[in-house]
Amino acid sequence: MSKLHTVNKSPFEKSSLESCLAHASDGAAVLLFEDGIYGGLRGTAAAETVERALASVKVYVLGEDLKARGFGEDRLLNGISVVDYGGFVDLAAQADAVQAWL
Protein backbone atom coordinates (compact mmCIF):
# COMPACT_ATOMS: atom_id res chain seq x y z
CA MET A 1 0.00 0.00 0.00
CA SER A 2 1.81 3.11 -1.18
CA LYS A 3 0.14 6.38 -0.61
CA LEU A 4 0.50 9.88 -2.00
CA HIS A 5 0.05 12.54 0.68
CA THR A 6 -0.56 16.10 -0.47
CA VAL A 7 0.10 19.25 1.60
CA ASN A 8 -1.01 22.67 0.34
CA LYS A 9 -0.64 24.78 3.50
CA SER A 10 2.33 26.71 4.82
CA PRO A 11 4.06 24.89 7.70
CA PHE A 12 4.21 28.20 9.58
CA GLU A 13 0.49 28.74 9.50
CA LYS A 14 -0.91 25.25 9.93
CA SER A 15 0.26 21.94 11.37
CA SER A 16 -0.72 20.07 8.18
CA LEU A 17 2.86 19.26 7.13
CA GLU A 18 3.97 18.21 10.59
CA SER A 19 0.95 15.96 11.03
CA CYS A 20 1.31 14.53 7.54
CA LEU A 21 4.96 13.61 8.09
CA ALA A 22 4.13 12.12 11.50
CA HIS A 23 1.53 9.84 9.92
CA ALA A 24 3.13 8.96 6.57
CA SER A 25 4.36 5.35 6.40
CA ASP A 26 7.78 4.33 5.13
CA GLY A 27 7.90 4.46 1.37
CA ALA A 28 5.03 6.91 1.03
CA ALA A 29 5.20 9.92 -1.28
CA VAL A 30 4.54 13.46 -0.04
CA LEU A 31 3.78 16.23 -2.53
CA LEU A 32 4.09 19.86 -1.42
CA PHE A 33 2.08 22.29 -3.54
CA GLU A 34 0.52 25.78 -3.33
CA ASP A 35 1.61 27.29 0.04
CA GLY A 36 2.88 23.84 0.98
CA ILE A 37 6.06 24.47 -1.04
CA TYR A 38 7.42 26.69 1.76
CA GLY A 39 7.93 23.47 3.73
CA GLY A 40 10.47 22.28 1.17
CA LEU A 41 12.80 25.27 1.47
CA ARG A 42 16.22 25.23 3.10
CA GLY A 43 17.07 27.12 6.28
CA THR A 44 13.56 27.39 7.68
CA ALA A 45 12.23 26.54 11.13
CA ALA A 46 10.44 23.57 9.51
CA ALA A 47 13.48 22.20 7.66
CA GLU A 48 14.65 19.85 10.41
CA THR A 49 11.30 18.01 10.52
CA VAL A 50 11.28 17.60 6.74
CA GLU A 51 14.92 16.45 6.63
CA ARG A 52 14.17 13.76 9.21
CA ALA A 53 11.18 12.58 7.17
CA LEU A 54 13.26 12.38 3.99
CA ALA A 55 14.92 9.27 5.40
CA SER A 56 11.70 7.28 5.09
CA VAL A 57 9.42 9.09 2.61
CA LYS A 58 9.93 10.62 -0.83
CA VAL A 59 9.16 14.33 -0.94
CA TYR A 60 8.14 16.23 -4.08
CA VAL A 61 7.45 19.89 -4.75
CA LEU A 62 5.24 21.25 -7.53
CA GLY A 63 7.60 23.37 -9.61
CA GLU A 64 4.98 25.81 -10.86
CA ASP A 65 4.02 26.78 -7.29
CA LEU A 66 7.67 27.15 -6.31
CA LYS A 67 8.34 29.46 -9.25
CA ALA A 68 5.18 31.50 -8.66
CA ARG A 69 6.38 32.29 -5.14
CA GLY A 70 9.79 33.48 -6.30
CA PHE A 71 11.97 30.49 -5.40
CA GLY A 72 14.31 28.41 -7.56
CA GLU A 73 14.96 24.70 -7.20
CA ASP A 74 18.34 25.58 -5.65
CA ARG A 75 16.49 26.73 -2.51
CA LEU A 76 15.03 23.28 -1.83
CA LEU A 77 16.31 20.84 0.80
CA ASN A 78 18.57 18.12 -0.59
CA GLY A 79 16.61 15.03 -1.50
CA ILE A 80 13.44 16.81 -2.61
CA SER A 81 12.38 16.34 -6.23
CA VAL A 82 10.51 18.82 -8.40
CA VAL A 83 7.54 17.71 -10.48
CA ASP A 84 5.24 19.59 -12.87
CA TYR A 85 1.46 19.20 -13.13
CA GLY A 86 1.94 16.09 -15.32
CA GLY A 87 4.22 14.63 -12.67
CA PHE A 88 1.56 15.34 -10.02
CA VAL A 89 -0.92 13.30 -12.09
CA ASP A 90 1.62 10.49 -12.49
CA LEU A 91 2.25 10.36 -8.73
CA ALA A 92 -1.49 10.22 -8.08
CA ALA A 93 -1.95 7.49 -10.71
CA GLN A 94 0.92 5.41 -9.34
CA ALA A 95 -0.32 5.62 -5.75
CA ASP A 96 -2.90 3.24 -4.33
CA ALA A 97 -4.61 6.22 -2.74
CA VAL A 98 -4.23 9.98 -2.34
CA GLN A 99 -4.60 11.58 1.07
CA ALA A 100 -4.90 15.36 1.32
CA TRP A 101 -3.73 17.32 4.37
CA LEU A 102 -5.64 20.59 4.28
Binding site: K9, E13, E34, L41, A45, A47, E64, K67, A68, R69
Partner: protein, 136 residues
Protein backbone atom coordinates in the same frame (compact mmCIF):
# COMPACT_ATOMS: atom_id res chain seq x y z
CA UNK B 1 -6.04 67.45 4.45
CA UNK B 2 -8.58 66.29 6.99
CA UNK B 3 -8.52 67.70 10.50
CA UNK B 4 -7.52 64.48 12.19
CA UNK B 5 -4.90 62.30 10.62
CA UNK B 6 -5.04 58.78 11.96
CA UNK B 7 -2.22 56.30 11.94
CA UNK B 8 -3.31 53.36 9.80
CA UNK B 9 -1.43 50.08 9.95
CA UNK B 10 -2.07 47.39 7.35
CA UNK B 11 -1.00 44.11 8.91
CA UNK B 12 -0.08 41.43 6.36
CA UNK B 13 0.39 37.91 7.68
CA UNK B 14 -0.51 35.66 4.73
CA UNK B 15 1.53 34.22 1.87
CA UNK B 16 0.51 35.32 -1.64
CA UNK B 17 -1.55 33.15 -4.07
CA UNK B 18 -2.59 30.41 -1.62
CA UNK B 19 -5.34 32.70 -0.31
CA UNK B 20 -6.78 36.00 -1.54
CA UNK B 21 -5.70 38.02 1.54
CA UNK B 22 -2.45 39.42 0.12
CA UNK B 23 -4.05 40.68 -3.07
CA UNK B 24 -7.06 42.09 -1.20
CA UNK B 25 -4.77 43.94 1.19
CA UNK B 26 -2.88 45.54 -1.67
CA UNK B 27 -6.17 46.65 -3.24
CA UNK B 28 -7.36 48.22 0.01
CA UNK B 29 -4.01 49.97 0.53
CA UNK B 30 -4.17 51.48 -2.96
CA UNK B 31 -7.75 52.64 -2.46
CA UNK B 32 -6.92 53.97 1.01
CA UNK B 33 -3.95 55.89 -0.39
CA UNK B 34 -6.45 58.33 -1.94
CA UNK B 35 -7.29 59.55 1.57
CA UNK B 36 -4.69 61.63 3.35
CA UNK B 37 -3.86 59.38 6.24
CA UNK B 38 -0.65 58.25 7.87
CA UNK B 39 -0.21 54.81 6.32
CA UNK B 40 2.20 52.06 7.32
CA UNK B 41 2.42 48.51 6.02
CA UNK B 42 3.60 45.67 8.23
CA UNK B 43 4.76 42.28 6.93
CA UNK B 44 4.80 39.64 9.64
CA UNK B 45 4.79 35.80 9.69
CA UNK B 46 3.98 34.37 6.22
CA UNK B 47 3.25 37.93 5.07
CA UNK B 48 6.96 38.37 4.35
CA UNK B 49 6.55 35.92 1.45
CA UNK B 50 4.49 38.56 -0.37
CA UNK B 51 7.61 40.63 -0.99
CA UNK B 52 9.91 37.94 -2.44
CA UNK B 53 11.51 38.92 -5.73
CA UNK B 54 11.36 36.83 -8.89
CA UNK B 55 7.74 35.70 -8.61
CA UNK B 56 6.60 34.12 -11.90
CA UNK B 57 3.00 32.98 -11.90
CA UNK B 58 2.39 32.03 -15.54
CA UNK B 59 2.62 28.35 -14.57
CA UNK B 60 -0.19 28.54 -12.03
CA UNK B 61 -2.48 30.69 -14.16
CA UNK B 62 -2.80 33.50 -11.62
CA UNK B 63 -2.05 37.21 -11.88
CA UNK B 64 1.41 38.12 -10.64
CA UNK B 65 0.62 41.12 -8.44
CA UNK B 66 4.11 41.40 -6.94
CA UNK B 67 5.20 44.25 -9.31
CA UNK B 68 2.47 46.40 -7.74
CA UNK B 69 4.45 46.66 -4.49
CA UNK B 70 7.05 48.67 -6.41
CA UNK B 71 4.34 51.23 -7.27
CA UNK B 72 3.41 51.91 -3.65
CA UNK B 73 5.97 54.71 -3.42
CA UNK B 74 4.13 56.61 -6.18
CA UNK B 75 1.00 56.44 -4.00
CA UNK B 76 2.96 57.95 -1.12
CA UNK B 77 2.97 54.68 0.73
CA UNK B 78 6.57 54.83 1.90
CA UNK B 79 6.63 53.10 5.27
CA UNK B 80 6.95 49.35 4.89
CA UNK B 81 8.03 47.40 7.94
CA UNK B 82 9.31 43.84 7.66
CA UNK B 83 9.86 41.74 10.77
CA UNK B 84 13.37 40.32 11.06
CA UNK B 85 12.33 37.26 13.09
CA UNK B 86 9.70 36.30 10.50
CA UNK B 87 12.35 36.36 7.77
CA UNK B 88 14.79 34.35 9.86
CA UNK B 89 12.29 31.59 10.67
CA UNK B 90 11.75 31.19 6.93
CA UNK B 91 15.44 31.12 6.00
CA UNK B 92 15.11 34.48 4.25
CA UNK B 93 17.05 37.73 4.29
CA UNK B 94 16.41 41.21 2.95
CA UNK B 95 18.22 40.13 -0.25
CA UNK B 96 15.36 37.74 -1.04
CA UNK B 97 12.88 40.64 -1.09
CA UNK B 98 12.17 43.26 -3.72
CA UNK B 99 14.08 46.50 -3.33
CA UNK B 100 11.26 48.99 -2.78
CA UNK B 101 11.97 52.73 -2.96
CA UNK B 102 10.17 56.07 -2.97
CA UNK B 103 11.19 59.50 -4.20
CA UNK B 104 11.41 62.27 -1.62
CA UNK B 105 10.21 65.46 -3.34
CA UNK B 106 11.48 67.55 -0.41
CA UNK B 107 15.00 66.36 -1.16
CA UNK B 108 15.13 66.82 -4.94
CA UNK B 109 13.38 63.48 -5.51
CA UNK B 110 16.11 61.50 -3.82
CA UNK B 111 15.39 57.78 -3.89
CA UNK B 112 14.91 56.30 -0.45
CA UNK B 113 14.32 52.78 0.79
CA UNK B 114 10.71 52.03 1.68
CA UNK B 115 11.44 48.83 3.55
CA UNK B 116 12.63 49.02 7.15
CA UNK B 117 13.71 45.82 8.86
CA UNK B 118 12.39 45.80 12.44
CA UNK B 119 12.56 43.45 15.40
CA UNK B 120 9.50 41.75 16.85
CA UNK B 121 9.61 44.17 19.79
CA UNK B 122 9.72 47.15 17.43
CA UNK B 123 6.83 45.68 15.46
CA UNK B 124 4.82 45.33 18.67
CA UNK B 125 5.48 48.99 19.47
CA UNK B 126 4.42 49.99 15.95
CA UNK B 127 1.13 48.16 16.46
CA UNK B 128 0.56 49.90 19.79
CA UNK B 129 1.22 53.32 18.26
CA UNK B 130 -1.33 52.79 15.49
CA UNK B 131 -4.87 54.14 15.76
CA UNK B 132 -6.34 51.57 13.40
CA UNK B 133 -5.01 48.16 12.38
CA UNK B 134 -6.37 46.51 9.24
CA UNK B 135 -5.66 42.79 9.39
CA UNK B 136 -5.06 40.62 6.35
Amino acid sequence: MSATVKKFLYLNRKAPYGTIYAWESLEVVLIGAAFDQDVSLAFVDDGVYQLTKGQETAGIGMKNFSPTYAALGDYEVTKIFVEQESLQERGLSLDDLQHLVWEDEDEDYAEKDSIALVSRAEMAALMDESDVVFSF
